[in-house]
Amino acid sequence: MPRVQREATVTWEGNVARGSGAISAATGAFEELPYSLASRVETPDGKTSPEELLAAAHAACYAMSLAGELAGAGTAPDHLDVHATVTLDQVEDGSHRIVASELLARARVKEIDADTLNRLAASASAGCPFTKLIEASATVTVNATLEGESDGD
């Protein structure tokens, strides 16, 4: 399969404390998203941040990976809900570091038990290219549950 390229463009004006930027995607999927230092480390106030975009990337990557794992096991999902929460923290030397990405998945899948789901959820994270990368800096945790499932008793 050929290599795929995806591009985004940012314009920034002013210094970091009082300046502001705008982010656009080459595909046109989003344009001129505003962001600032305050939206990154304080109250978002409707503005995005690098970490929020990484959370969106991780959730999107993981959802595809989990769909692939479930389909590969013969149990394609009817519906998956994935939440990713990325944490930026100040570390000992005073610099900021992305320290965690927490994945929560809720799956509506016919004929699967919780143990199998947990196993596939873990391999989906291992197979998601973004998990592999961000593990250089952050701890990735995965928690998967079945939607609307009784405990089978």
């Binding site: 290599r3 795929v4 390229q5 995806r6 591009e7 940012v10 314009t11 920034w12 002013g14 210094n15 970091v16 404390a17 300046g19 982010i23 995607a25 080459a26 595909t27 999927a29 998203l33 505003p34 939206s39 990154r40 480390v41 978002p44 409707g46 995005t48 941040s49 690098p50 970490e51 929020e52 975009l53 990484l54 959370a55 969106a56 990337a57 999107a60 990557c61 959802a63 595809m64 990976s65 769909a67 389909a71 394609a76 999902p77 998956l80 994935v82 990713a84 929460t85 990325v86 944490t87 930026l88 100040q90 610099s95 992305i98 290219p129 973004f130 592999k132 990368l133 593990e135 800096s137």
Partner: protein, 144 residues
């Protein structure tokens, strides 16, 4: 103080023929963005992908780090234009990120600007988180 940002994605069906959507994020700045495997690995057709979101995150983080470095060096930028291009090889992963920045920075030399951009590339939190990408390039130049 730690800062959390959350995104929510819904997916229906299998990987190859199913489809998903980035429903919402903490700030509310994006939502309702469609994603699917074909758009990710072939023609984007106006749909975003994890790699495009990573490109957006990296360009964003780099721009902030550079604006900070320039201001600290006594040369605050009037404007920075940054693009990040993420290369994705299906089956292999993310193989390259190319950063390109053009700056309008009064009173600064090309060499100093390049050096500041190199430092921003090394120090921004997203660069550190993506340190495992096999190739990360930078092209930095001053406007005009």
């Amino acid at each position: 103080m730690a800062t959390d940002r959350t995104a929510e994605v819904t997916w229906h069906g299998d990987l190859m023929s199913g489809s998903g959507r980035v429903d919402s994020v903490t700030s509310g700045a994006i939502g309702g963005l469609d994603v699917d495997w074909r758009a990710r690995s072939e023609d984007a057709e106006s749909k975003t992908s994890p790699e495009e979101l990573i490109a957006a995150a990296h360009a964003t983080c780099f721009s902030m780090a550079l604006s900070h470095g320039l201001a600290q060096a006594g040369h605050p930028a009037t404007e920075l234009k940054t693009s990040a291009t993420v290369s994705f090889q299906p089956g292999e992963g993310i193989t390259k990120i190319a950063l390109q920045v053009t700056g309008n920075v009064p009173g600064m030399s090309q060499d100093d600007f390049r050096q500041a951009a190199e430092t921003a590339k090394e120090s921004c939190p997203v660069s550190k988180a993506l340190a495992g990408v096999p190739e990360m390039t930078l092209d930095a130049r001053l406007q005009g």
